[in-house]
Symmetry: none
Subunit: 232 residues, 2 copies
């Protein structure tokens, strides 16, 4: 019967140790990169790629390309539910907080970090939310934003170097970037980099050496409140 075949196909997909390991990691509800999943499962990138493609094909996972990364997440709560009920059978409960995931234990990293060259984490989200809420930024296409006239003005007052940002013609200007701790898009691209630059230049934030973690200074905290209307 078709229903039986469908059952066995889905179950067989979950039945491979490498794929199960990936699904297990994805049970945290977040999106992970292909390399992240490959490393976690202890297999090479090309093997993982095949596994991931098959699971996307079967609609167990959803993929989203972002720059040269590809983020994968569980396709639906139903998938998570099925996995959880299988784990329950094994006598062990689903452990959403997989211990490995180092960044999860690091609240500072979740709070603020660099993502390539722009800000991510709660601060990155706060800035992005503020800009959209105040009408400075509006969606343009599926993965971009554009700066509104008020946004131009706002950036000018802040000292964001829009000129240089616009010169990098080879680069997206205001791109949506999926924040992997907050699971929501924050601003990246040339504008995101320029904004981050401003934060560093004005002493609002400083990089911690040998880490992606960024520390928000006291003046940075005040600036977030006064300029962005955000308390973090």
């Amino acid at each position: 019967m078709t229903t039986v075949n469908a059952l066995s196909e889905i179950a067989a997909l979950m039945g491979d140790p490498a794929r199960a390991s990936m699904l297990s990691l994805l049970m945290d509800g977040r999106a992970h990169t292909a390399s992240d999943l490959a490393h976690n499962a202890g297999i090479t990138a090309q093997t993982a790629s095949g596994h991931l493609a098959r699971m996307v094909e079967a609609e167990l996972l959803a993929a989203r390309a972002q720059g040269r990364n590809r983020f994968y997440r569980l396709a639906s709560p139903e998938v998570a539910h099925a996995i959880e009920s299988l784990m329950a059978l094994a006598g062990t409960r689903a452990t959403p907080a997989s211990k490995s995931a180092a960044w999860r234990r690091d609240p500072d990293l979740r709070f603020c970090r660099t993502c390539y060259d722009h800000l991510a984490g709660q601060v990155g989200i706060a800035v992005t939310d503020s800009l959209t809420r105040q009408g400075h930024l509006e969606p343009k296409g599926p993965r971009d934003w554009q700066l509104t006239p008020s946004g131009e003005l706002f950036c000018g007052k802040l000292g964001v170097d829009l000129g240089t940002a616009r010169q990098a013609s080879t680069r997206h200007f205001a791109r949506q970037c999926l924040d992997w701790s907050e699971r929501r898009p924050h601003i990246s691209g040339a504008l995101g980099a320029a904004i981050a630059d401003t934060f560093f230049k004005r002493g609002w934030a400083e990089r911690l050496r040998r880490s992606r973690t960024v520390r928000l200074t006291d003046s940075g905290r005040r600036a977030l409140g006064s300029h962005f209307g955000a308390t973090v």
Copy 2:
């Protein structure tokens, strides 16, 4: 991690078409014989035996030997739940009914037959249900019943030979026997045999030669109504 391995092992068990077919059939909540399951899955008995052993080992199934048959059923509602959630993912619902199985086509056999030396089929179930409903029989342990004082009286009036039944010390007195057409327990053991004996002696039922089929006579039908409060 152990939880990941457990997930993949359980899922892999369900991921084989033959095993999935068996599990699918067992989703009706009933117990099925090994041959029944093998036939339904389209594989030979020996292949099925291996599959079944593995699933019992993994506690997906529970097995119960009965004579030369072996009945398998899902080990728990949790197993059914997990299977159902996987089927839900496949977008198709579970299909409980299966067509084949020869005895299913023989209504007389389903109605009344001997099971070793006691009554089975709808009549056997009707008698058992009547006894428990009227408080003559009550559960004792996982697979036995015991006769209550009112049950002693009732059997005495009916002419059931309890003395002889109790003498067979080597044998269970009132045992639960899984009825393979009704899929519910009916009464077996020495008491079940004694009751069946009464049916034959009083002309309520008669065996058909060369068959396990039992014919309920007109007086038997009346007796079922008057003594057991059952219409069949």
